[in-house]
């Protein structure tokens, strides 16, 4: 038997098999961009038929993410109370973003809230005061609903609400998260179901989705009041709609 020839044939056969399998595998997992666009278009159409309008870009790319383990952080309530009580009222305080941020930053520093993941997020006028919001952003992804909310009135922080989750590590393996279009359909189904429960066939009020983000989200139906000290946050799609309403949709593909 000519072993040299046999080996050559075998090498060619194996190379061909590997190319075919590799190619199939690649196309299966990257998907067709054209198809993705048409899925988004179809999703928008279905949503609009149910009075839901997307006023922002729908993220197309999908990714694989692990869970995020978090620990509830307890604050020194006495210290916070003492820091807030030491402030002096300032009637001439001008409520600009910069002034509010400077004031809140210094209060948070005094309270010892100096975590690297604490990031200023937004502010808004609310009655005679303003609300300044800080978020917990870990490796570029918000950890919801962890953060700090400061209420400022007449140049002083009158209230400080803090729910802080310290990330302690990721899960061992990653899993595919569903595409935002899939999450949007789930969002719509939930609204339709809510309305059916209220005895209505259609969503009565128009829903305008202003922001779509992929976040880590912790279901707070069980929390510190139940004695929980450590928990697990999962990837979720966050939909912000109709001026500040927020809904989270679990982004793990339950089919897997």
């Amino acid at each position: 038997m000519d072993w040299t020839k046999a080996k050559n044939i075998l090498i060619v056969a194996l190379l061909l098999t590997d190319f075919i399998l590799g190619g199939l595998f690649y196309f299966q997992h990257t998907g067709d961009e054209g198809t993705q666009e048409s899925v988004i278009e179809a999703t928008i159409e279905v949503l609009e038929n149910h009075n839901i309008f997307v006023d922002t870009e729908i993220p197309e790319k999908t990714r694989r993410m692990p869970v995020l383990f978090v620990k509830y952080d307890e604050e020194d309530e006495d210290l916070v109370r003492s820091v807030l009580s030491r402030q002096v009222k300032n009637d001439s305080f001008t409520m600009t973003e910069q002034n509010l941020k400077t004031l809140c930053d210094s209060i948070l520093r005094e309270c010892g809230f100096t975590e690297e993941t604490l990031v200023y997020d937004s502010w808004r006028i609310d009655g005679e005061g303003a609300e300044v919001v800080y978020k917990n952003i870990y490796n570029g992804i918000p950890v919801e609903e962890s953060g700090i909310r400061c209420r400022v009135e007449k140049g002083e922080v009158v209230r400080l609400d803090r729910l802080w989750l310290t990330p302690t590590g990721y899960g061992k393996t990653k899993q595919r998260v569903i595409q935002s279009s899939e999450a949007l359909i789930q969002f719509m189904s939930e609204r339709v179901k809510e309305n059916e429960n209220n005895g209505e066939d259609e969503i009565p009020e128009e829903i305008h989705i202003q922001k779509i983000d992929l976040v880590y989200w912790l279901d707070l139906s069980v929390g510190p009041s139940d004695g929980v000290t450590e928990d697990t946050a999962v990837p979720a799609w966050r939909f912000t709609y109709n001026d500040g309403n927020v809904t989270f949709i679990d982004a793990y593909d339950q089919q897997q």
Binding site: W3, T4, K7, N8, L10, I11, L14, L15, T17, D18, L21, G22, L24, F25, H29, R64, P66, V67, F69, G171, K172, T173, K174, Q175, R176, D219, V222, D226, G227, V228, T229, E230, D231, T232, V234, Y252, Q254, Q256
Partner: protein, 520 residues
């Protein structure tokens, strides 16, 4: 440039073929499993949870006690080696049913009164009772043990005691715990095979037991059997809690066995005490690792199958489930001898499933878990919906040497009551047992003696707490009183009280009657 020689080229080709072959296998794995590179882990491929062997159903369903009356006022209660006697009894029952089936009229089932049953197992006649703490559905019982049956057998729903008596040697007696009903399965000829068994037991080594009213006089009606005196060589056994260290890989393996591939994506919650909860979805599957060393698994029941669950089928499911989720040994691999202690029907109309409580033994001695059971499994419509482990762990050598080999007199069984009169009085009064005022000591004592349902010997495992990871199994008297009160007393050392229980928590209750006892 020097051209590589043929040998080098051939070697390179061989290596290339091997590499390409492995790439092909890898790609095929990805392709078929629809996996991705993140999901591919060598550790997972190497580690597969080993399924321990499950005990056979036939070896698990054994009588809790075998009570033998010699017909001369003396009884004995067998808990050691009961398995062999039960298997022998099953052969005799098989012969009884086969012979009966050949009769022209076949075997007849007739309901009898409680008095008749008690008379049959009284001091007057030789008798043998195979007693369970639970009803075994009778049709299934006959089918499982291959006993011939006819339409009249349908009268009997369940059997908690199978008995034979010299009073009516042509009959096998059945006590159904639910509804406290008594039946006789009657043949048209005498059946005396059990007499041989009783004679054999009488001539062998045995501890003599007498009905309580023999000791306490005619004012006491209790016929519960008590030993006159007892010798025992049981030693205390030091033990620990299974999985006392929840960071142990074995506990993680156990947790992983419930969730399979999704284990890395389920919610893990730790509370202030250190209890860990693994939760799948919105609570469809929950596994708790408790700091007291217990493990608890709950699963949402899927839709009803519509048909009544089968007892032996459900038991088989429970046995296999435990084997593949933690095994029938301790997590550290210590051999445990486990048996089915009791069963409760669960679900609507008590038709949906069974909750199996398993007990454990060291050697042949029962270990009573105060307010607990080592393993509890609930099976609803063929699905395990609840599983709890409260296993202990001990050194195999220590356990093998639990007997000193030098029997000593135990604290006098009857004096246990007088020695602990006040303690027992308080416990029974708390439970609502009607007793005469404490000052009227004689009448109050008669009330206590009257309330005795059973006296057993074994080990007691005290209730674990977060603090006591090490425990001592103590040899004990376990006395069951009325209103389902169970009290444990040291087998030696002045019979000091060492624990208490309720039949509900000990897993032997239900809205059912008390066992008929000696019937004396």
């Amino acid at each position: 440039m020097k051209k590589p020689n043929t040998k080098t080229i051939e070697f390179f080709k061989t290596v290339l073929i091997v590499v390409l072959f492995f790439i092909t296998v890898l790609l095929l794995y990805f392709f078929w499993e629809n996996a991705t590179k993140d999901a591919f882990r060598f550790t997972e491929m190497i580690y597969t949870a080993e399924e321990e062997e499950a005990p056979e159903v036939i070896d698990t369903v054994i009588p809790t006690e075998i009570t033998v009356g010699f017909g001369n006022g003396v009884y004995t209660v067998i808990s050691d080696g009961g398995e062999l006697l039960w298997k022998e009894a099953l052969e005799k029952l098989k012969k009884f049913s086969a012979d009966g089936a050949k009769q022209s009229a076949g075997l007849l089932v007739s309901e009898i009164s409680e008095e008749t049953f008690r008379e049959a197992v009284s001091v007057k006649y030789s008798s043998i009772q195979f007693q369970f703490h639970y009803d075994i559905p009778f049709q299934e019982f006959c089918k499982f043990y291959d006993l011939s049956q006819n339409q009249s057998f349908e009268k009997i729903e369940g059997a908690a005691t199978v008995a034979w008596s010299g009073m009516g040697t042509e009959s096998i007696l059945i006590w159904q715990k639910t509804g406290n009903k008594y039946y006789a399965i009657i043949a048209d000829q005498n059946y005396t095979n059990f007499e041989d068994m009783i004679s054999r037991i009488e001539t062998g080594d045995h501890v003599s037991y007498y009905p309580a009213n023999t000791f306490f006089g005619s004012s006491v009606k209790s016929t519960a059997l008590l030993p006159l005196s007892l010798q025992s060589d049981l030693l205390e056994v030091e033990c620990g809690r299974e999985g006392a260290d929840s960071s142990d890989g074995k506990v993680k393996d156990l947790a992983e066995s419930f969730f399979g591939e999704s284990f890395d994506f389920i919610r893990k919650i730790t509370d202030t005490k250190g209890n860990i909860t693994y939760m799948y979805g919105y609570g469809q599957k929950i596994f708790n690792v408790n700091v007291d060393g217990t493990f608890e698994y709950k699963e949402e029941a899927s839709g009803s199958s519509g048909s009544s669950p089968k007892f032996f089928e459900s038991l088989d499911i429970a046995l296999s489930f435990v084997a593949s989720h933690g095994s029938w040994n301790s997590l550290d691999g210590t051999d445990m001898s486990v048996y089915l202690k009791t069963v409760l029907p669960v679900g609507e109309d008590k038709k949906k499933g069974y909750k199996f409580f398993f007990g454990m033994k060291i050697g042949s001695q029962n270990v009573y878990f105060e307010k607990s059971a080592p393993i509890v499994v609930e099976v609803v419509n063929g699905q395990v919906t609840y599983y709890k482990r409260d296993m202990i762990d001990f050194d195999q050598n220590t356990a093998a040497n639990y007997r000193s080999g030098m029997p000593e007199n135990t604290f006098d069984p009857v004096t246990v009551l007088t020695e602990n009169f006040d303690y027992i009085y308080d416990k029974l009064s708390e439970a609502g047992v009607a007793l005469a005022p404490r000052e009227n000591r004689e009448a109050a004592f008669d009330g206590i003696a009257d309330s005795i349902k059973a006296m057993e010997i074994g080990y007691v495992r005290p209730l674990p707490t977060a603090e006591n990871s090490g425990m001592v199994l103590k040899p004990c008297y376990r006395i069951t009183f009325g209103k389902k009160v169970i009290l444990y007393f040291d087998l030696f050392n002045k019979a000091e009280p060492i624990g208490s229980d309720r039949e509900e928590t000990a897993g032997q209750s239900g809205n059912t009657a008390d066992a008929p006892g000696s019937g004396a």
